[in-house]
Symmetry: C2
């Protein structure tokens, strides 16, 4: 192995036990030479002065140009946006077709072309997975996201979609490191749950195949047999309630978990199945700690990932290669820089309403009114004016009556306007990207808040634990958490797919998820 | 801050903005002193020679003993099996009740008792979450797992269950690091899927609340409106098929994803919702590479985790504290040691049958017969004889007719006995813990295998991509993967909850999952 290869961490290919020149072929005379073998991303970084022989590379043919005695092959393996250029002698080029999976062996030499520093002069071609070029639906030219979305099983093969897979993977690993460094316990809250509290009808129900899920009292009744579960079950819309139980065990917890909504919305922001990053902290003093965690996490994520290969590829991609469905690279760079900023502004909802009402520069379609939700136009204005269009902005302490029952009242209510200790995190243009709150940790006020919202509640002073299946109140267990040792606690939730949209510049969330599901669509 | 505290990484508690002596209380005179604050696990490791004042600790009261002028309080916070001992002056002990969430401030001093090196002499008590000791269902004495399972929302508060949460978290983080080090891309395959191929009826269907899921042709038809999805949808039973698509994008992929089975089985090994660790490798030469990955992963996991606090706690737990529902600690230690062994034996199914048939020492209830599946008694015998009861054993190349359609034929079929390139990984006593295979990557043989198993197939040479919703064959997309560039590939799946059972000694899988779901049971 040459020192240059060793320095790059490019492993020599071990003696191969079998080749794939034809499926299940026996040993091949060329297979027992020692060869270099690595990802295309690694190879493209490797710029030896002298020619290196016996370099082996696996990949998919992205395009083929026929020249006099050679074919110029663009090869990709998902490890980089940029392809590897390979020169294949015409007499070796049988089976070199767009879409084919091939193993190429040859010399890695500096290239006379300007598009790449080095190229592979191929001596041996193995077609490991043939392709019918006439029917292969992925082309090198621009294809609309709508068209690509009709074939989610093939779409990941486009260079930008493979970059999105790598971005997701790096983000998961970075978050896992971050939370471990903060002594948070990563958990697996349940997907099938007993309560549909937040969904208010926009939830999915679950039942064994062949059973009737329509019977509300009995989800999962088989025609001839007992029901699978004792009562109607749902796909979770948020893991928060269960995280609160786990936070009473180990203190600080987090999860990256699939969640579901049966919303009949056909917009670029809605998915029926999406990953939520949720965290819950126990023994926290106030909302400030929850905002600190959210801010520190996003800042650590952006700082740790900014210099990585995949992020730099996304920020320097040529516009042409990915069409108009991406936000401009400069704008996306600004998003990363915004998240890396220190000290994000925090204002209350009441202050935000005052700011919006004072505004003279802009006419809003919806008049900003205390007690109503903030419209997108309001959020965009706040991100621009309060955050300078750079820093994310926390808006806190929304009116109690437009927020969830479990939120803790704000410590100092402003003039009979009851608010709760919660926040929305707004980022420029994109607006809300995360939300969190302190939770009502006291039993009596929680029951009062539930009654105020018309929810069924158990009695204040009696409850038999273990009776969840039959009590009729699917949230009895959640109330129970307050009966025995419920310290002040709070947490946040962040739509992970939406975050990846924001960080990649992909305009619709459907294109950041490999197999998106939304109203009317669940291909593959 | 004292140097000793600094060396331990115990952060001084920042100036506190609010106390919780009473909920939402105003500033407290004692709150502005600088104080030490850390987890109980950290505190228990901290053995200063001199008394340290102003130490603050949060936790839940596990038990209280009344002595003359003090209460002896056992305090836990989920960070360790061992509790902290705190001496609370009787006149300060109001609200110190089992289950209560408290914040204690006092001096950390060496203890005259033999059960702990240091103890906290409390000067200030804040009851952050009161508890009704009379009704608190978790007691310090042994409680059966059946009883604890009736209240999954409270069960995590027992010391051993909090250790299981930490074990899971550490395992996730370790696996994430392992796969990142191997350049595998972590992915999020879909949960809601179109195919029920493997479940053969034992799958869950999904439909929006208020709709009829019973209509097989139309899962999710609202009485008055169009159906949510175009056809029946299911909860995934395995992410493998989707991982294969993603492996054609970025090469090597993995996931830790929830999967579901509607099996009406009420055993210690069955859950309706469980996490599967699945990995898929592209451009692999043969099954050996897949077994290498499985073996390397489990060895790395066990080596990286063995010395951690949580594993050592699990291995040194007193039997009394956790009842008879755990395998003996020595046996569990042997499991960890087995996974750390090099070079696990690999034998074929055909060799295994021969071994079983030669066996004279043991009489089997089921006669070992080529062509039939291996029974548990057979697997236990093989783990004992081939693995010496220590090393895990790979059994490979099972008969084609008892395995899934997508498996690749073995390269050298033995005397007309068709086998496929697959493995089961057996561990002592517990038996199968993982399974994997090479996948049939060639179009025509895949279609032939599907037809042999009576599955609907698309024509060999025509297919319109993007037509998945209406073709009637829910696996057309999977066949499609072979039309264009399908290199040899393979992977494995491992039941993550079962692995945690094995590594913790918990006898039933229901007790390794915080909120277990199985036939008839989905509490909370």
């Amino acid at each position: 192995m040459r020192p240059a290869a060793r320095a790059l961490g490019i492993a020599p290919r071990p003696l191969r036990r079998r080749c794939f020149a034809s499926p299940r072929a026996s040993f091949h005379s060329t297979c027992v030479r020692q060869q270099h073998h690595s990802s295309i991303a690694q190879l493209l970084q490797w710029k030896p002065i002298n020619k290196v022989d016996n370099v082996v590379v696996n990949g998919f043919v992205r395009s083929v140009r026929s020249m006099k005695s050679n074919r110029f092959v663009s090869l990709g393996d998902g490890s980089s946006l940029a392809p590897l250029q390979a020169l294949v002698p015409t007499d070796q080029a049988e089976g070199i077709a767009i879409g084919a999976a091939v193993r190429l062996t040859g010399s890695w030499v500096s290239s006379p072309g300007t598009a790449q520093s080095h190229e592979l002069h191929v001596e041996q071609v193995e077609v490991l997975g043939p392709s019918d070029a006439k029917t292969f639906p992925i082309q090198k030219k621009y294809q609309t996201p709508e068209y690509l979305r009709t074939m989610p099983h093939l779409r990941p093969r486009t260079p930008f979609n493979s970059a999105l897979l790598r971005l997701r993977s790096d983000a998961i690993a970075t978050l896992t490191r971050f939370f471990a460094s903060q002594s948070f316990t990563q958990t697996h809250p349940p997907i099938i749950t007993s309560s549909d509290c937040e969904g208010a009808g926009e939830v999915f129900t679950v039942a064994p195949a062949g059973s009737m899920a329509g019977d509300e009292k009995d989800g999962g009744k088989n025609d001839t047999q007992e029901p699978f579960f004792r009562s109607q079950k749902y796909l979770t819309v948020s893991t928060q309630l269960h995280l609160e139980a786990l936070a009473q065990s180990v203190g600080n917890v987090w999860t990256l978990s699939p969640t579901f909504r049966a919303e009949k919305s056909d917009t670029s922001r809605h998915l029926s199945e999406f990953y939520m990053l949720e965290a819950e902290m126990s023994f926290v003093d106030d909302l400030g700690s929850v905002m600190d965690l959210t801010e520190n996490m996003l800042r650590a994520l952006s700082k740790d990932m900014y210099e990585t290969a995949v992020v730099q590829e996304i920020l320097t991609r040529s516009k042409q290669s990915s069409g108009e469905d991406l936000a401009p690279a400069d704008e996306v760079r600004g998003r990363w820089e915004g998240l890396m900023q220190p000290s994000w502004p925090r204002i209350t909802y009441t202050e935000a309403i005052a700011l919006l009402q004072q505004n003279k520069a802009e006419s809003f379609e919806h008049k900003p009114t205390w007690g109503a939700g903030l419209q997108s136009e309001h959020e965009r204005y706040l991100a621009r004016v309060v955050g300078g269009g750079v820093k994310p902005v926390f808006v806190t302490d929304y009116p109690r009556d437009i927020k969830a029952f479990y939120m803790l009242p704000s410590p100092k209510p402003a003039e009979d306007r009851a608010t709760v200790e919660c926040f929305d995190l707004l980022v420029p243009e994109f607006c809300e990207i995360a939300g969190g709150s302190m939770r009502e940790h006291r039993l009596a006020p929680l029951l009062e808040a539930m009654r105020r919202q018309g929810m069924a509640t158990p009695p204040l002073d009696t409850h038999v634990p273990g009776d969840n299946g039959s009590s009729g109140n699917s949230l009895d267990w959640y109330v129970d958490l307050r009966r025995w040792g419920s310290p002040p606690h709070g947490g946040f939730g962040l739509g992970f797919d939406r975050l990846l949209s924001y960080l990649s510049g992909v305009q619709t969330i459907r294109d950041t998820v490999a197999f998106p599901r939304w109203f009317g669509r669940c291909d593959c």
